[in-house]
Symmetry: D2
């Protein structure tokens, strides 16, 4: 897994152009109408993502650092601010589908305008200013990569609500049946582990505050839980037996009549799932995906195991050196089956985010950055659970062993899955 | 006011082409993204209107009457059925924004496909079948005209939610200040009036069941209530004095913090209103518009007058022969001020629908048509109030003195206004 | 059917004592806890009814008319005002269960205090003042009788929510099986009928504005629709066939999964209903009861008939002279079967309120009374349907042929039933 | 702080009688109507608490252990089961106010019936069975003590919704002004601390799984945050400055228009608070109380400090040996000011529960008990925050240094307050 290096401004310009171009590549298969709707509050219109990421560079880089820069449009700060109170008022989060205008072509023009000025800035900036600016640039690129992942998950959700179940993009390469990989549990020795980011490249503020944590001996499952295993839970009445569930999870299951992961539909008595490539039969060897924390936890209880804590996960990542994974760059955009020819721990990175039984709280000594950037992470540190390892919609250059993703425990529209621990 | 004549099939084909073309002319200024959103459940996406009106002809004309007709797309009946239970299951009314696909160009292709086959049908149909088909054709055209009015009001609502307040179309002709028209009350003598449609051209089933109604002597105001008069009500604390209001109306005012008609905004201490031509200063001589029944009734109480019943309105239309009005064909798309050079009753047709204090109930002997067409009107005959006279978004060829429009009393997004009676 | 006479003050005092005592007799079987809860907003706590009716006399009679009268408690006006904006702020309607204090014994003390002072007033009042006061006194007694009916229906609802299904009072006399009465339709000739109250005793303001209405020839069913007939509708799939239903009614049926009248439960494959005497088997000969307007209308459509308008009902009451009925005074508190030995029209009064297909609107020339009393009826004249004839929970002395009761079309907790018309 | 000892059955019988009597003493000042309402779903009717605690002994002790025991009433298991799925269906949690019957006197009879049989059981039980039964008995008593605390907080909430603001009980002893205690921060050295219960008396399952946790050096505030300090936060605009707040907390503040702790009301420009002794002026030296986690956290941010984790709290309790506190036994039922004459750490126990910044999660190796008792704690281990130390409504014999209380972060009706850490 690579990380963003912080070279001279020309190196970062190449990264900038790569990341920005990737966003547009993701949106290429969309119709203009796909880019404006917001079927649930969690899902933002793709057009909004494209504009918001540009607004980020305009607001935090161009306006303060490029002399004489004029914003593309006076109202865009109101339209495309996400949640930064310090930057001012904004379109309410649940009102983003009101933005049928500016039309898509204007959003592309906005992106080009910002890109042109970013190029100008990076060609002319002096070293001293660049040094000051560099962390903001890195943050802007990481931020855009986060929105690329959201673009994938939001597009998937938007298309899935359409009764025609449109294909986002056909599978480039047909799947090959690899055969199942037997579940095994690998030892992780207890002891003090250093938690948090210690390198000198980019990381988010929530990974700082490095500290030691005492971890007990435990075992980690060698691969992700599969659709086939999850189906066994379903077929064993897993969704109707309260004993497996947290109380709030079971209430949710009953309120929403949940019976399977998100995107699963039964057709002619066989389970299918909506994917970025259209409706497909459920593959028993692929990792189960699009489940809530509640479902992950209930499955673990049913299986007589448990979820890892985020500290255990990070400890395991230190014991079993990082391997590659199925990231957005593969173009598959869905999790893939584990490899029968690989020994040891696999799928730790990519495929699906792994729910941990750790609330998203600050590390000791956590400090918010001053100003608007300080709203990036800290204010969300409650009622959410940490996920680790990235998914098939994450950029490889975006993930780290110390990376802390977080979602409310009921959220299912991200590529979230299950890794088990044995106590 | 003209009405649809029912000539030979060639005559109706010309009408068909005119009406269908008008729908597309209305949608011309829209961006694709404008055509898919649904900000409130009352408002349907323009794309949906365009497809649904085509579905109507496909379902009720082409499929049963054109031999060998193949539907454009198997799923469209599911996608674009509005509320006809008899035709089968359908996309739920509040889920129409899920239809980002089919894209707008496919909807245009659908319209062309239906139009081509309608031409083929009307060129080849024999007279006996045409006679049977003719009422359905007439209904289909009236139906499309109703959706043209909804297109205008829905587009207005959609654009109004956008913080940029986009202009749908600039005013073709600048407004001229005509000067105020003094309010007068004109006598309508009491007696038995024949209510309902007695002609031999098209009317809706809810206008049938002609019957006599006893009306008492009353007086009708010579023009519509103006913005200036309504402002006097507002400035007199009209929205905060419970004595003017029906109990449910006052509860609504307080719940939603209503202080003015829909689309009114105060800027620099002056009232403006969003129009199809963008934000404009409120013109005191124009008819007040986009108000609920509750507001109309409260205004009438404050003014010491009352609203008409639908029977009084129809009686007045018989006493004062019909004049022309400001309909959609004027292209103004907003109500216009009364004419100081006109005596007698004016603005009875066009400009704004006039709320009556009559619940939308069946006339004596009302019968639903058999089959799906029977769901057109009858099943909505509760909890709605009758409005009369058409608006600036109504086609002139669509309106009649006996025409009964109906909306729930809280609805404000239609061009609804006030005509007063004096008891 | 008697009506309240307006005698000298001693006569009215006897009436006063009778009516007030009746309220307390109704509450006698209750536990203190029964008197404070409010399971739905429509249902008020019995304790609140007892206090509110006393507040009415205190506010509108004693305070203005009894020199030196001191209110029982300064806060009671805030606690026990129902909806009179003119009298000031008050406990919100949906917050009445907060009034665990004052305890029940204090409410009784309040009633005694008011009664004592009412006696003092009526013993000392001079004739001129009495004449002025008399309409308010009559209104106060009618008001308390309305609340007696609400007490019965609210107590029934409160007890019905208790899983123990408590008996309010055992049946005094066992039911006797009378046998079914065949349905017949009786002619009511069309013509002009005088609508509204023309006598010189008490009536509500909504009965005034006497006016002539043209009624067409029609036929009225000789008795109420029975449970047995309604069961045939249910067994014929009535609740699942959209063709019988108003659109909003069918939506409600599906949202709330309605399958039978309120209070019906199936036990061991047999329908029972909760009554004031506990759970009983459904008696096929008794009138069906506790149904919404939607259910009444759907039943009528299924039966190929329709509901009457309120004008037709009042016309029929003039053609078929009033008979007695099953009122609250019978102590049965549930509707009873029609009498096989009676010819002609029966059950027009008592048993169940009969839903009409008439919206509750003002009669021509309706005027609200000045001041708080003007809020009694007028402000509710929208979105509600008129019911006629009284029920088994209505006082005989309270009902009149011109009496207009009104409820929203979805309400089921009143004793509402069905009378059919044949067109 | 004492703990329940586990003596011979006679000893536990004395405890049983004491605890059971205490519950009834708490309910003594209530009217029957106070005991049945449920103003919010969190608050249970006092009558329900009285019955549910008896049901606990009946279900888990008498039925399995007392030969020939007949339940008091067949339906009570349905009525008074709280959340034990394993025991069967039950009255939904938000429907407890439907239980106007059985009346209060029957609930007392139920308690006496259970008590009588408990006495019989404990007088006749043999030692071997007693040993098996003893943990269940201990749990039953602890359970009843938990409900005693809930009785106090629920009664306070119920009475507070009454516009008359009734006094639960007058203050026995007038408050004496002690003077403010200066805030100081006391050192707690970092290192490994043993977390969880290691004694051999009663503890809950959530305290087991003793494990070592690494704690960093920190400082703990010597007393609780006072009303006066919290007022400074309020007066500094604390509720309107987003920078102090977690995002969900600030959303809640705006949605509910929060401006002060629960029960605070401003009268004549001075803050008062509703207490168990009626409305009182806010005392600046008393601990602030009835605040959410969000408010506690926002205050800490404003003050430049932070909340403790539950592990830090437990570490501090080991460094600073336990002192006594203001528990329910004092009869004050409100928090009291810190003592100026006491050095070092005070108010660690009693007065108010202290919000920690620790999610309520299982300790390593946590195991649910088999059967219904296993539903006691484990299924609630998500989305709730741990509170430590007990409150003025907690029994002294109920609290321990390792005791983990837990509530959702928005809950305010418990006696919750703030203890600060300095990093």
């Amino acid at each position: 897994m690579s990380t963003l290096t912080a070279p001279a401004s020309q190196g970062i310009l190449r990264q900038y152009e790569y990341v920005r171009g990737y966003t547009e590549a993701i949106c290429k298969p969309l119709e203009p109408e796909d880019t404006v709707v917001q079927p649930i509050v969690d899902v933002s219109p793709p057009k909004w993502h494209m504009a918001h990421t540009s607004w980020f560079f305009e607001t935090f880089v161009l306006t303060p650092y490029l002399p004489g820069y004029k914003v593309f449009h006076e109202q865009f700060s109101y339209l495309f601010n996400s949640y930064y109170n310090a930057v001012g008022s904004r379109v309410q989060r649940d009102q983003r589908s009101t933005l049928t205008r500016p039309p898509l072509r204007d959003i592309y023009a906005y992106r080009q305008y910002v890109d042109k000025h970013m190029q100008q800035l990076l060609h002319t900036i002096d070293d001293r200013v660049f040094e000051e600016l560099q962390p903001v640039l890195a943050l802007g690129l990481q931020h855009e990569q986060q929105h690329q992942e959201l673009l994938i998950t939001d597009i998937k959700y938007i298309l899935s609500t359409n009764p025609m179940l449109p294909v986002y993009t056909p599978r480039a390469v047909p799947k090959k049946a690899l055969g199942a990989v037997e579940a095994k549990f690998l030892e992780v020795p207890g002891g003090k582990y250093k938690i948090g980011y210690t390198g000198d490249e980019f990381c988010f503020d929530n990974e700082l505050g490095v500290h030691e944590v005492l971890v007990q001996d435990f075992e980690i499952m060698n691969r992700l839980v599969t659709n086939g295993e999850y189906l066994a839970f379903m077929n064993d009445g897993g969704y109707s037996d309260f004993r497996h569930w947290l109380d709030e999870g079971f209430a949710l299951v009953n309120r929403d009549q949940l019976q399977a992961p998100l995107y699963w539909v039964k057709q002619e008595n066989e389970w299918h799932r909506y994917t970025m490539h259209g409706l497909e039969k459920v593959d028993p060897d692929e990792p189960v995906c699009h489940i809530s924390f509640y479902e992950a936890d209930a499955y673990a209880n049913w299986a007589g195991k448990r979820l890892l804590t985020e500290f255990e996960w990070e400890a395991a990542s230190q014991v079993y050196p990082p391997a590659t994974g199925n990231f957005i760059e593969s173009g598959i955009l869905e999790p893939v089956a584990a490899d029968p020819d690989t020994d040891g721990l696999q799928q730790l990175y990519g495929d699906v985010w792994e729910w941990t039984y750790s609330a998203y709280h600050p590390y000791p000594g956590f400090e918010k950055a001053p100003g608007a950037i300080g709203e990036y992470n800290g204010k969300f540190m409650l009622n959410q659970m940490v996920l680790r390892g990235g998914s098939c919609a994450t950029s490889e250059s975006h993930i780290r062993p110390t990376y802390r993703n977080f979602f409310h425990p009921d959220k299912r529209w991200q590529y979230n899955g299950i890794r088990l621990a044995n106590r």
